[in-house]
Symmetry: C2
Subunit: 272 residues, 2 copies
């Protein structure tokens, strides 16, 4: 895809850069949008960070990430809801229209119960999301994270939640890394479009073999995901937002980040 | 589950033992069934191995594993079909009623195409399966293997294949490790029962964190899978076969295997 007006990058992709450096480098390279990892905001005023992002000519795409609702005890679950409320306020101050949710999982909470806790957690924070004008985007996570990161593992499940809860402030984020294997992906992306619930599109690639389940994502073109095909489904479903590069990779974090940014742009043009 | 007449073990679980040792040790411990890893048959006559298994009082449950159909070139795909035909004959000689299929995946074959190749491969070997009286059991593999081991990743997909092909010699194997996360699991197990396609039930556990995607499975009770709940679904669907312990684990292979076998029996009684 040659249109850089559609390219956003998630700050965790270039983790060695602090927020100010990432903003400057992305803007200089012609990137158009930025998603902000909540750790990148630490010690900063979200409103000032948002102003700096916009002054550099970048659009704040999302704040990443809320969620993590399930826990064995009600006290922890209440703490998590307050955490999400803080993040919603931070997203509003930042000027990000979206708070991405990694819904959470806990090895000591059975999966069916954890799924109920996710729904309750989302319902608890939705009124504030509506008030602040920030959408919550459920990001279905790859099933390999069902034990410790998220019990929402398919687009069907995420959309069942959206439909069941029925708030325009609740949507989904499609990350090719998590959903590329799903035989229902095309159908569920179409369903997301019909529901008006397609809020974000994240790209990277799936390497084989995977050296690490968390921090060995591939740059687009390095792996086996047919990204242009999935993008065509997302666009056919009416999505006109950014294709957002989100790569957690120790290998790339160890590289010279300027050189890496150049490779990201080249991969975006060739493989997205 | 206290009934050892329902306990089978897959030889790969106790990989340091050769087939003869595994047969003797399992039988002495009161285990009732054995699934045979194809590597465990190397250099052996399958018919003689089957006779030795039955003489020890064990039931041969399955030969593991055929499949691996997708490949970029037709020559390799033809070789894979011949491999599966050899395995079907070996299963028949062994007296195993089932050949378990890890359907295959290839990083250079796009997932949709690979799924077509799996279907073609199964269709190519089914006539021999029917002739030999050996069922093929599609084992849906966890989506984390979709890039390099199997593009059949959910029960729904496996059953769609069974229904589409419509042969009584084609069924599914449910392994809790691969499917525990699936929100549709209960419904799809019920469907498998209605189709008469529930051929095997494998147990182990899912640890968090997982140290290795291939060889860090947990012993039942060590992880987050609600095995008794899944077993209740499988039994409600009419399955009366073995609960078969299949654990690939470097940690357990490094242990004294007699002590490990004792732990397997204890875990079977307590957590299956």
């Amino acid at each position: 895809m040659n249109d850089l007006s559609r390219l956003a990058i998630h700050t965790a992709t270039t983790k060695p850069w602090d927020l100010e450096t990432a903003v400057r480098k992305y803007a200089d390279a012609g990137v158009s949008g930025i998603s902000v990892w909540k750790e990148a905001l630490e010690g900063r005023d979200p409103a000032a960070a948002g102003a700096a992002i916009r002054a550099a000519g970048l659009a704040p795409v999302s704040l990443v990430r809320g969620g993590f609702f399930p826990a064995p005890d009600p006290e922890t679950r209440a703490v998590r809801i307050r955490d999400n409320e803080r993040l919603l306020r931070a997203a509003a101050e930042l000027g990000a229209p979206l708070l991405v949710l990694v819904c959470g999982a806990h090895p000591e909470v059975r999966i069916a119960e954890a799924r109920d806790q996710v729904r309750s957690g989302i319902e608890a924070v939705l009124p504030l999301a509506e008030k602040e004008g920030v959408r919550l985007a459920i990001e279905p996570l790859h099933p390999m994270y069902a034990g410790d990161r998220s019990v929402i593992n398919t687009m069907r499940e995420a959309l069942d939640l959206c439909e069941g809860i029925g708030s325009p402030s609740l949507a989904v984020a499609v990350d090719v890394y998590h959903v590329w294997w799903d035989p229902e992906l095309e159908a569920q992306i179409g369903r997301a479009g019909r529901l008006g619930a397609l809020a974000a599109f994240h790209v990277c690639d799936w390497k084989t073999p995977l050296e690490d389940m968390l921090e060995d994502r591939g740059l687009m073109g390095e792996g086996c995901i047919d990204i242009p095909r999935i993008r065509s489904w997302v666009e056919r479903a009416g999505f006109r937002g950014f294709a957002e590069v989100e790569i957690f990779s120790r290998r790339f974090w160890a590289m010279d980040q300027d050189e890496y940014l150049g490779r990201i742009l080249a991969a975006f043009r060739e493989y997205v």
